[in-house]
């Protein structure tokens, strides 16, 4: 984790985040500073330490396979800006054929 350089362009692409050139510059600077700061966790001895992903004692909490009411088509589509014949519509998705 020594000297880390964020490739903002690559990360923004992964995150599907459109950034202006100006924004890229700002975030590059700020994130370099933040990463420089968080680097100090590196010095913590975590040998034989298990990671914590969930702090609850819950295990095997499941629900029964019984159906509950779904939304109506109208409710489901109420917030959709582009819809047609009950479908949600989006611009063409890239897929060769």
């Amino acid at each position: 984790m020594s000297k880390v350089k964020i490739d903002i362009n690559h990360i923004a692409k992964l995150a599907n985040l459109p950034l202006s050139a100006e924004e890229e510059k700002t975030y590059d600077k700020q994130l370099t500073a933040i990463l420089e700061y968080v680097k100090h966790v590196e010095s913590v001895d975590t040998k034989d330490v298990e990671p914590t992903f969930n702090v609850t004692p819950n295990k095997n909490i499941t629900r029964k396979d019984t159906a509950s009411k779904s939304l109506t088509q109208d409710e489901a589509l109420n917030n959709v800006s582009n819809k047609k014949n009950g479908f949600v519509v989006t611009g063409g998705v890239f897929e060769n054929e």
């Binding site: 990360i11 994130l31 966790v41 913590v44 969930n54 609850t56 109420n78 959709v80």
Partner: protein, 449 residues
């Protein structure tokens, strides 16, 4: 009848039961006060004129069927949720109605309220100061008597810190005590919904209403310890004072106020013991790595297809955290950042487990300073992050935290933070309630006209 707005939740319920006033009068009084003060304080983003029961202010990250949900972001402009969050269902079953949706830092990301994409909320004690965040509008609504009580969410201090900066009570329950279903996730492993109220007794009541598993939040714990309706005695209660919470960085005046409060607790029969939470210094880094990772994934659903606008509409802090989190999870960095932080989280949790072998509650400041000027830290994200140092560890450990008003510094409120063992809200509520029975800090009101 504007004095109805000064009543605590407990007093309001008793007044309604005794028919001292009607729910129409009650809601009318609040609506009038909101009309007068909201333009100045920007507490509410949406006001429900139809509110007709016990009026609650709900942080606008919690879904209420049929009312706009913005999460403080432009990306959700126009979105109307088709369902109620579990906490809303539970409140409604207890004669509560939603008076309005309150302002917040965009997607609950911020410590000052200034990351809201709308007009920024202001501190009722001094409108040139920040109210704290991210539950800015909810804390302001309670402090300015614009609701009987409010709900906020707390991921790294977002209930406790604005409650402290606005001089009201804020409770972050143990992770898993309250169902998160219906609140937009910020960092799923840390988020909790909790009450912001005028008194600790009110917070106890609201927790009772909203707690419990619902079959919707898979992390809600099915049988948490039961709550008792009244405080237990604090005679002999051991209060741990962590040396790390009184180190460099804590404002001297704030420290003095906190020490006075600790002495008061001793007068009331509690004992104080020194404890140590040695990994506190790593909590900011640990929190920001884990939180940002989860944020980057939780905000991926915003693609403008099923609701809301496109991803360019995220504000600067949201974008910053999405980038940081995406980076921390990306190939080649996951082990060094995410897993490393998850391991340090274990050590932070163990710090508390060790400390609680010596004490019943842990007490200290909520925030290293009182409310600061609007605009003061907004251009320096790292400094802003560091102001959360005393609240983050409890969030990482999943334990409950209560902020109780305990005095003033330079005319601005200071909050005492009480931390309890996992699922032991009972003890911190009792300490807080007994403290309030012997002090008047929570009765102080900001001079608003």
């Amino acid at each position: 009848m504007s004095d109805l707005t000064q009543l605590t939740l407990t007093e309001t319920i008793s007044g309604l039961e005794k028919k001292d006033f009607s729910t129409e009068e009650l809601n009318g009084a609040y609506l009038t006060r909101i009309k007068k003060l909201n333009p100045k304080l920007n507490s509410y983003l949406f006001v429900n004129e139809e509110s007709n029961k016990i009026p609650a202010a709900i942080k606008d990250i919690i879904s209420v069927k049929g009312m706009p949900l913005t999460c403080g972001s432009k990306i959700l402009e126009g979105y109307i949720p088709p369902y109620n969050a579990t906490v809303i269902k539970k409140l409604m079953a207890n004669s509560v109605s939603v008076l309005g949706k309150t302002n917040l830092d965009e997607f609950a990301m911020g410590s000052s309220g200034e990351n809201s994409a709308y007009e920024k909320a202001r501190n009722p004690w001094d409108v040139s100061k920040v109210p704290g965040g991210s539950s800015s509008g909810s804390a302001v609504a309670v402090a300015a008597d614009l609701c009987a009580f409010a709900l906020g969410t707390d991921t790294g201090g977002s209930i406790r810190q604005p409650a402290s900066l606005c001089g009201v009570v804020g409770l972050k329950p143990s992770y898993g005590r309250v169902s998160r279903y219906g609140a937009q996730s910020m960092a799923s492993s840390l988020d909790q919904i909790g009450p912001i109220t005028k008194t600790v007794a009110d917070a106890r009541l609201v927790l009772n209403w909203i707690e419990g598993a619902d079959g919707k939040d898979n992390n809600a714990v099915p049988n948490p310890k039961s709550q008792i309706p009244n405080p237990k005695s604090i005679k002999g209660t051991k209060i741990g004072v962590p040396i790390e919470y009184f180190a460099k960085g804590l404002d001297q005046d704030v420290e003095e106020v906190i020490n006075t409060a600790l002495n008061k607790l001793k007068d009331l029969g509690a004992e104080t013991v020194e404890v140590s939470l040695p990994h506190t210094q790593y909590s900011v880094a640990t929190y920001y790595l884990l939180m940002a990772s989860e944020v980057s994934s939780n905000l991926a659903r915003y693609d403008g297809i099923r609701f809301g606008k496109d991803r360019s509409k995220f504000g600067p802090e949201a974008k910053r955290r999405i980038i940081l989190g995406t980076f921390a999870l990306s190939a080649g960095y996951f082990e060094d950042y995410f897993i490393k932080a998850a391991k340090v989280r274990t050590l932070i949790k163990q710090d508390f487990e060790k400390a609680f072998q010596k004490c019943d509650v842990i007490a200290g400041p909520v925030s290293p300073t009182v409310a600061w000027n609007l605009g003061e830290k907004i251009s320096d994200p790292l400094t802003m992050y560091l102001s959360d140092i005393y609240t983050l560890s409890a969030s990482l450990a999943g334990i409950p935290g209560l902020s109780v008003p305990c005095g003033f510094s330079a005319g601005l409120p200071v909050g005492l933070q009480l931390l309890g063992e996992y699922m032991d809200e009972e003890t911190i509520l009792s300490v807080g309630e007994i403290y309030q029975s012997a002090t008047d800090w929570h009765k102080q009101k900001p001079g608003l006209n």
